[in-house]
């Protein structure tokens, strides 16, 4: 229960999305920072996931070996992706699964619509899937008259609030309990003053369960596709994916072509890493393997490219396809934790989003690779060893080269580049800047050109530079 005299802090909303115009992450992040209770809760919740991940990691002596294996297995699989896709297709077909191929989001949505229409299915229950978010499936199906119900608690909260998921694993993590109570009160008529999480979960359970029982079709994503067995592997904590797949007679799976792993011995590595990295638990409550339709049912798998094959050919960026969507890079990222996933204005937010999103639109997501401190923490926690921070930096270079960065940023970077390339000039400039910083009035230092100084004080300039000290003391000898 919230305290009665606590002022209500409205939930900050995400980035303003206007067609293909560049997303202004900084503007949305500022609004998130201006909501201190939301910001604090978000930061603390995600940091606690990072800490739980660390404590699970320390319990596994072979942790680093598992990360190396995971990285090598994914790189191998991607280097022979055509063969593994064909093996998966053959095995899934042999198990009675219908396999479809979609070049892009539009074809994916059309395939799903066709399957539903040909069976007269007007109601679809769904478990969480980042790919269907990427494809805009819910909006597409709703427009053609299919009633789509998200069954994951966090995803359902976001659907009812008409907001996108803000995190790949915990979609409503940016909301306070009171925000959720308000959404449920408005959309399913529960008590707006009861924000006890257990009560809220029960409210959603009671409202969703009847919809599950009478749905005509169910849909899940896929965490992994196993070539050797033709299995679709789904990892969840609420049992909603299994209900979606097993209660209706029609089960449709949406899966990106990069989800392949060769065999079960490889899958073991990823199952050991995934939930420990994501939430700091040894395993999800349910790790389900769907190899064929249930008794009396049918099962379809839609394999989706949507830019993935093109990314495979990008020398600097193809390893981003190793991602298993654990969200560990988001939980550890200081920018993400303080700005909220919705500030990125896209399906994939946080560090991994910064390197995936520009492959969808180099214009729309041109500012995102700058929403990083390049501290490398994302790379250090990544269970499949993607060099995320290096790719963020590489994207900056690409975007600057293509003039996709704002003028102020490129002008400042160009000046910095000139300066950093000339040691004597650099030393003179640093000396001058230190003197200037100590004496300049605030408005000169803290203005629109200095994003760094917007929410924090610039450090006190030292009395002398390292070079001055070294010259004077010969490295401490004097």
């Amino acid at each position: 229960m919230s305290k009665p005299n606590e002022p209500v802090e409205p939930q900050p909303r995400g980035a303003r999305v206007r067609g293909d115009r560049p997303i202004d992450q900084e503007e949305a992040a500022e609004r998130f920072l201006a909501a201190p209770r939301h910001q604090k809760q978000h930061d603390e919740r995600l940091w606690s996931l990072r800490q739980k991940r660390d404590s699970e990691m320390w319990k596994i002596p072979e942790w680093e070996e598992l990360r190396s294996l995971a990285s090598l297995i994914k790189e191998h699989t991607l280097s022979r992706l055509d063969a593994y896709l064909e093996t998966f297709e053959a095995n899934a077909k042999a198990n009675g699964v219908v396999v479809h191929w979609a070049k892009d989001a539009a074809e994916h949505n059309r395939i799903v619509q066709d399957i539903l229409e040909s069976r007269g299915a007007k109601t679809l229950i769904k478990s969480k899937s980042m790919l269907t978010e990427e494809c805009g499936l819910r909006e597409h199906l709703t427009a053609v008259g299919v009633d789509v119900v998200e069954t994951d608690l966090g995803e359902r909260i976001q659907q009812l609030d008409e907001e996108d998921p803000s995190h790949v694993v915990v979609p409503a993590v940016h909301k306070l309990r009171t925000d959720v109570a308000n959404v449920f009160a408005a959309k399913i008529g529960s008590d707006p003053d009861d924000d006890d999480p257990q009560h809220l979960a029960a409210v959603q359970r009671m409202a969703t369960r009847p919809l599950i029982l009478k749905a005509a079709a169910g849909m899940t994503g896929a965490n992994f596709l196993v070539a050797e067995t033709g299995a679709v592997v789904v990892c969840t904590n609420e049992g909603n994916a299994d209900l979606s797949a097993l209660v209706p007679s029609l089960h449709i799976v949406s899966a990106g072509i990069e989800k392949l792993v060769p065999g079960n011995s490889d899958l073991a590595v990823f199952i050991r890493l995934l939930t420990r990295s994501a939430l700091g638990s040894p395993i999800t409550q349910y790790t389900s393997h769907f190899r064929g339709p249930r008794n009396g049912g049918e099962m379809h798998v839609v394999l989706v490219d949507n830019g993935r094959s093109e990314r495979l050919g990008m020398e600097e960026f193809w390893t981003s396809l190793k991602c298993i969507r654990c969200g560990a890079c988001m939980n550890t990222c200081p920018v993400y934790r303080r700005s909220g996933g919705l500030s990125y204005g896209t399906t994939y937010s946080g560090p991994i989003g910064l390197i995936i999103d520009p492959t969808f639109s180099a214009r729309k997501y041109s500012h995102l690779p700058f929403a990083s401190t390049l501290n490398g923490s994302c790379t250090n926690v990544c269970p499949v060893k993607i060099n995320i921070h290096e790719q963020i930096y590489a994207w900056r270079k690409v975007l600057v080269r293509n003039h996709a960065t704002p003028f102020v940023k490129s002008a400042v970077m160009k000046a910095a580049g000139l300066l950093l390339a000339r040691p004597a000039l650099y030393r003179a400039a640093v000396q001058g800047a230190n003197t200037a910083l100590a004496h300049l009035p605030r408005f000169v230092i803290y203005n629109g050109l200095n994003a760094w100084g917007k929410h924090r004080e610039a450090p006190k300039p030292p009395g002398e530079t390292f070079h001055q000290w070294f010259k004077k003391t010969r490295g401490g000898e004097k």
Partner: protein, 217 residues
């Protein structure tokens, strides 16, 4: 060209240089002396609860005690009798009123305190998710060390459906989704048909459901 061929051609045109598939070790160096004890410990760490064992003459007594006040029991195991015949179920949603489901797991995993429930164990796959409470029987001899050993088992290659059921850290138990039944995992000897002669006693472990009393139809 079909979308399939277009995608495969695009993938082929963009393949990175070939890389070898590493051999995945079984990581057996920290194998515990007692897999059953390690399984129970992992289960308890995730919020499971240890029940007292039944007498050797009636090892399933604690399970029956759990079921005494059940509104509707549905059993997929021959050891426990249920009120529904799972062989006759056509629509899984007719099981939505089941209070307790009893199933026998294919095997357990000590590393994570998980049990594998396959289609042959469940008879109707959705039973494990529709019932309000799930009681899982597990042969203490059918527990493997870690997930590497688990994924070497034939069920994961052969069954059309199988799922690891596990518990999560206590702090998360308040987040309850639409299909999450209360669960009790009972570690007990095999059924009458394949009972071994060593007469292992029953040790039962369970999780008290927070949703007890809320039957949703």
């Amino acid at each position: 060209m079909s979308s399939r061929d277009t995608i495969l051609a695009a993938v082929r045109a963009n393949l990175p240089k070939p890389r070898d598939l590493p051999e995945v070790p079984r990581f057996e160096s920290d194998r515990p002396a007692s897999l059953a004890a390690a399984f129970c410990e992992a289960l308890q760490r995730m919020g499971g609860r240890v029940l007292e064992a039944g007498s050797p003459s009636d090892p399933l007594a604690p399970v029956r005690a759990e079921l005494r006040n059940s509104r509707l029991v549905c059993s997929a195991t021959p050891e426990i009798e249920g009120a529904r015949d799972l062989a006759k179920v056509v629509d899984p949603n007719t099981l939505a009123d089941v209070d307790h489901a009893v199933v026998r797991a294919s095997f357990g995993v000590a590393e994570t305190g998980s049990v594998l429930l396959a289609d042959q164990d469940l008879k109707v796959n959705a039973l494990a998710y529709l019932a309000q409470h799930l009681i899982v029987l597990l042969d203490p001899g059918a527990i493997v060390h870690n997930l590497h050993a688990a994924y070497a088992r034939p069920e994961l290659r052969e069954r059309a459906y199988s799922a690891f059921h596990s518990l999560r850290n206590r702090g998360y138990r308040r987040r309850v989704g639409p299909g999450r039944p209360g669960r009790a995992i009972a570690v007990c000897p095999p059924g009458p048909k394949d009972r071994r002669s060593d007469g292992r006693s029953l040790t039962a472990y369970g999780l008290k459901s927070r949703l007890k009393g809320r039957v949703l139809r």
